[in-house]
């Protein structure tokens, strides 16, 4: 990869809009995520953050606008194609494979690295077996990395809410993302669990995936882990900048707390 590409933003979103009937869920959103950056996306309920996520990752088709990932236009591509390019997401509503164990869930996430032809499925060759072993080793490693080691062989439906959140992140990591997008990974966690989650995120950033986009309601968590933050309200971009700048932005304060009486 040449240096100009190295410096180019990882993800570029330009003029992204989505309307559902007469409702403008997302309007003219622009932002960029650079390599090695944790980018926070915040805003009150119904601000369009998750819609934004769904537009970028192909679960919705944008009404207008363009999404570019690593120099490729991925606007409106199917989710599985976008995932294959290295942009992997988690979900706001807990989405795991419930009857499967923690290990099996993470192993399933290794789909791309263990892909094989049908012939190799029925008559496995040495490389196929090796890829299979690697996937198993890596799955066990990821489970341990996310502090789920003790729950390795527990079916997912028996996990607590906090553990499910971690499992979701592990499954997303299993797909070896270049950019990981987390949709409210700390929803439903108490403040202590959220702090622990923040610690794990920082570790992931060092060891697994340098670039992360995170949608989150827990302010202290977002402000703690993010390098830059974008604030949305009513489908529009309200502010963007370093966490400290955004916190003191009067428009942001208004969106969250309401206008001060004159």
């Amino acid at each position: 990869m040449n240096p100009t590409q190295q410096d180019a933003p990882l993800l570029t979103v330009e003029g992204l809009s989505k309307t559902f009937g007469g409702i403008k869920a997302v309007q003219e959103i622009d932002f960029q995520v650079n390599r090695g950056e944790v980018f926070g996306l915040i805003g009150p309920n119904g601000a369009g953050k998750t819609t934004c996520f769904n537009l970028i990752t192909g679960f919705y088709t944008p009404t207008t606008g363009r999404v570019t990932f690593q120099g490729h236009d991925i606007t409106g591509q199917s989710p599985y194609r976008i995932a294959r390019r290295g942009l992997v997401r988690s979900f706001q509503k807990t989405n795991v494979l419930k009857p499967l164990t923690v290990f099996e869930n993470v192993l399933a996430g290794h789909y791309l690295s263990a892909r094989q032809s049908l012939l190799a499925t029925f008559f496995p060759t040495a490389p196929v077996r090796a890829a299979e072993r690697d996937a198993r080793d890596n799955a066990a490693r990821l489970v341990t990395l996310l502090d789920l080691g003790a729950r390795m062989d527990t079916p997912a439906y028996r996990l607590s809410c906090g553990e499910l959140r971690l499992l979701e992140v592990a499954v997303a990591l299993a797909a070896r993302p270049t950019l990981l997008m987390l949709d409210e990974p700390a929803a439903g966690l108490n403040s202590q669990e959220a702090m622990r989650f923040g610690g794990i995120l920082k570790r992931l950033r060092r060891e697994q995936v340098p670039s992360i986009v995170i949608v989150e309601h827990n302010m202290s968590l977002v402000m703690d882990v993010s390098d830059r933050v974008m604030v949305m309200d009513f489908g529009r971009k309200l502010a963007e900048g370093k966490p400290a700048e955004v916190k003191s932005n009067p428009q942001v304060v208004e969106a969250y707390l309401g206008r001060a009486r004159a």
Partner: protein, 327 residues
């Protein structure tokens, strides 16, 4: 995985010894029917258990296989070692076509359209007299030349080992599929399409692969059936076969490899045992299925796995929560 493999090997060894220990043609016939149904239940299980959709039209592939083998044998004089694999291939090709249409549908729509396909094929078999001989069916499908001067007992033994060979092939293919990246992808799609897509799986492809593999195995079973019974009529597309297959998969436990085998064994033996009760037999089966669905929603294997899983460690963990297991 290890548990399933070892159990399968032990069952295979028992089956290998069975014809040598048993000299009774009737018992051998029952054994052959158990093996035939084991292949059919395994193939249906790939769809019900791994695609996660309920097919009521699986007899389409059994029937296509049976008619393919019978026609190839009667019209072209091909031997059984060629017609049975070709029966599988023809069924698999139809599986691609039928799957391409039905796998876009979910739930009841999938059930209805698969049933419609089987019914359409049955009507064609009954009415296209020039090709299929209509309601008279195709009789006199050739037995393998090897059996020309064999005694009836030796013939039964031969068919038993042929059926055992087919069962072994089916289980090998199913085992490889289920415990590979393909099988995991299919289970991921079955459990959660959103997760599947977000880790790069194209859902349709894996539903399709499981569906076509199921069609192929059912076609093999159909080809074997044609040569063993030596007669093929439109009833191979009928609902009676479908009901048997469903009961086997449900009682044994869908989504496991041993479950359908267990189901095939139990249901075939029970059918024979209850033969004197005639019509009452079907009512009894109805009651058994209701009881299984109500009390053992994951079949016998689901029940056994559940026991194995709970005994070693967290027995204190609420039993109520465990009920909300695999759908």
């Amino acid at each position: 995985m290890k548990f399933e493999r070892n159990t399968l090997l032990v069952l295979g060894l028992i089956a290998l010894a069975f014809p040598l220990l048993v000299g009774n043609q009737y018992l051998l016939h029952i054994g052959i029917m158990v093996l035939l149904y084991a292949v059919l239940a395994t193939s249906l299980n790939l769809i019900v258990g791994y695609v996660g959709e309920f097919s009521l039209g699986h007899t389409a592939f059994l029937g296509l296989g049976a008619y393919t083998a019978a026609l190839l044998s009667l019209r072209l004089g091909l031997p059984a070692w060629a017609t049975i694999p070709l029966a599988g291939v023809v069924s698999a090709l139809f599986g691609v076509v039928i799957g391409a249409i039905t796998l876009r549908l979910r739930g009841p729509y999938f059930v209805i359209i698969t049933l419609a396909f089987a019914e359409v094929l049955r009507l064609i078999a009954n009415n296209w007299v020039d090709f299929t001989n209509g309601p008279m069916g195709l009789s006199g499908v050739a037995q393998p030349a090897l059996l020309a001067d064999a005694s009836p007992l030796m013939a039964k033994r031969f068919y038993f080992y042929l059926a055992l060979g087919l069962t072994a092939v089916s289980l090998y293919l199913a085992y490889r599929f289920v415990y590979s990246n393909n099988g995991r992808a299919a289970v991921t799609v079955r459990e959660n399409r959103f997760v599947a897509q977000s880790v790069g799986i194209r859902p349709f492809v894996y539903a399709m692969r499981a569906f076509v593999l199921g069609a192929f195995l059912a076609g093999l079973a159909g080809g074997f059936y044609a040569h063993y019974i030596t007669f093929v009529g439109a009833n191979v597309f009928g609902f009676a076969f479908m009901v048997s297959m469903i009961i086997m998969v449900l009682i044994g436990g869908k989504g496991t490899l041993i479950g359908p085998l267990l189901g095939a064994l139990l249901v075939t033996l029970l059918t024979e045992y209850l033969r004197e009760l005639q019509e009452l037999r079907l009512s009894l089966f109805g009651l058994i299925v209701m009881a299984v669905v109500l009390f053992l929603p994951n079949g016998l294997m689901g029940f056994l796995n559940h026991r194995r899983e709970r005994n070693p460690s967290d027995a204190a963990d609420g039993a109520a929560r465990a009920q909300g297991g695999p759908a």
